[in-house]
Structures are given as C-alpha cells and as structure tokens.
Amino acid sequence: MSAHHVTITVNGEPMEREIESRLLLVHFLREELGLTGTHIGCDTTSCGACTVLLNGKPAKSCTVLAVAADGAEVTTVEGLANGELHPIQQAFMECHGLQCGFCTPGMMLTSKALIEENPDPTEAEVRWGISGNLCRCTGYVNIVEAVRQAAAAIRSEAGEEADHA
C-alpha cells in the first residue's frame, strides 16, 4: 500500500497529511481531522449521510479516496456556521427538519449546493435535489420546508446586500 502526501483544504484551512492510498475521504475527515460531523450510514453510496461539498459540489465522501481530493476544497458541516448558524441550519431548526440528526449534515450540505444552483426551488425541485440523501426520521416534509425557507432567507439576504451596494 503506497503512501501519499496530500493537501486538502477543509473548511478554508489547508490540511497536509501523509495518508494510505486507500484511505476514504470520510475517514480522512473523521479520523485524521476529528471532524465527526460527517457520518457514515451505508456501504453502497446510497444514503448520503457522508455528503460533503467537494469543490462546492455535494459528494458522497465514503466513495472518494482522500488522495483523489488532493488539492481540493472540502466543506463539512463544521464549516457551515460562521459564528451564527447558517440560514440553512436556522431553517432546519425552525422547520423541525431534523430529528435524530444523523442525516442532517449531509442533507444540509446537499441543500446548500441546491440553493446556490436554484435560488428559488419548488417543492418538487427540492425533493429531486435531496433524493440522494436518505432520512429515516422526518418523512422529508419538514426538510423540504426548511430548504425552501432557507432559500427564501438567502434570497432576501442577497437582496439586502444588493440594496446596500
């Protein structure tokens, strides 16, 4: 098994490590960096609990070799809040879009990218967008609600900034 020197920028901070070539990105995050907010829920790339943003796009980090993320930017749930909760986090709380919290980090990161691509998604578009992330607790109703509320909050924030500009 070969070793590799990698630099992965995680939540804005470059992380350099010597790693085994087969190390999965999710284990790099959880075990090398101690960022345990990224969870593991399956072994078939189905559940999406391990979703992080890889260069801004949602990726299932259980199916990415850490060496293949060399040079990339990764955002995990720990990088969402900026002191204050991110509007997505706020909306998940207000809409009761989480119960056990296990799928929540992946769900929120997928939602973040979804809103960036589509600032005003319909219910159907949200359901489509989060269909790579399984939740066993909520029945999705409140997650969909949360994503739409977060989108509205982000739009209005952007609108306010535009007004100030």
Binding site: S21, D43, T44, T45, S46, G48, T51, L54, K57, P58, A59, K60, T63, V64, L65, V67, A68, T110, E117, W128, G129, I130, S131, G132, N133
Partner: protein, 271 residues
Amino acid sequence: MMRFRVAQPPALVDLRRVPGLSGLREENGHLWVGAMTRQAEIEKSGLTRRRYPLLSDAARVIADPVVRNLATVGGNVAHADPGNDLPAVMLAYGATMCAVGYPDRPAPSLSGEGSRSLPLAPEKREIEADDFFTGPFETALGEGEILTGIRIPSPSAGSGGAYAKLERKVGDYAVAAVAIQLRFHGGVIADAGVALTNVGLTAIRAEAAEGALNGSDGGDEALDRAAAAAAAAAEPMADARGSEAYKRAVVRTLTFRAASKAIARARGEAA
C-alpha cells in the same frame, strides 16, 4: 466493487490531471462528450436539454443527484453494467467511442516490465457503439486502453429523442428502460434508434422496433408495433425487479411512451 473486495486492483491511476478528457462541446456535426465529464454536467447543460434530450433525460435518472456530481459519462459507458443507463443511449444515438492506448497489450503495470517497453505513441481507436458492448461488464476496450470520449451525431432538424426508465426508487437500476432517437423526413420517421437497458446481458439494440418506426407516420399503431417488437427483443431475467414477463411488459409500455415523447419533441410539441 472495491469496497466489497470484488475488484482488488493492484494499482489505481488518477486521470484527473490528464488534459482533454472532460468537457462537452458541439463541433463538426457531433457532440463531443469527454469520458470524464461528470453526469451532473450533462444533466444540467442547456445544450443537451435543447439538442440532445435523450442524453439529458438519461442523465437525470442515473443513480442519484449527489452521485452524479462525481460519476462520469465514460465510467457509466465503459463499466458496461447491463444496468447502466448510458450504453443504451449510445446505441440509440449510434455514437462512436473514442479510445486511446494499446489495444493489443495487457494493462501496463506501474512497477513492472510493461511500463518501460511501451511503444512511444499510443494508438487512437474509434469504436462504434454497436461493436462496443460485448458482454456484461465487458467492452471492446483493451486492457491497455482508456476511453477518452464519445461522439454523438448531432441531430438534424426534425429530430427527437427520449429515455423512459422504470426504477423502484431513486438510485435504483432500471427495472427496464428504453432509449429512442428518431427524426422525421418527408413526414415519416427515419433513422430510428431504439435500445434497451437492463433487460439482457448488455444494453440491447432493438432493430425490429426501429424497423417498425422507420417509414411510419409516428401514429399510435406504429408505436404499438414498435413496442411489441422491443419487448420481443428484450432478453430479461427474473429477479427482485420483476419476472421475465413483467420486464417485457415494461419494455413494451416504456417503448410506447419514449417514442411518443421523442415524436412530440421532434415535432416541437414537447420540451
């Protein structure tokens, strides 16, 4: 595959830094899709949605939206799992697979003799989709070759295509799926391509169904004939997704629906 130790390759090569393997552009009468183009890019591209709706339809139903951010077009084609969606799409389009490498040599070992004795210039090959899918998880690519991209003929005016898939849930392989590309010429259908996903050991081109469409006016009766022909061309096996009879029935229904949609698109009646 690797996670369950079904495949245990001695080495993996990361192709991300090899230039020219990724991208999507229309040129010289075809659409070039680099093998490493992410499926999400195909799904979200305005160009594919406008001009290559068959490809765009299929890209929307491969695995799930998060997986498609990383999964590549070339991977879906070259892996040649009978459940993969893009092989049938390429058959229906009559696409050309572009490869580079050493078709007659084994895969070079990173540390072994092979790497030092490679000829200087790798060979470029073009393989028609019809010749590409040779068996389950098997293609015409040699072990020493990689797929670099795919050329899909640009549709002429009056063309339309559609992909219809029945899946048990998002992320599932198809119970069955049907890819159809066709065009109208002088009021009748010409050059129809019909291919089927996950109802055989490889994606299956349903030539009899194409024959039933070609020369017809695209009316329901012609579609029924094509649908029956496609169902007959399927070679499904019973499994958790359904019995053989059921899968044939699904092929029949989906062929009718995909053809209807392709025709509506060809006539500019549907997006």
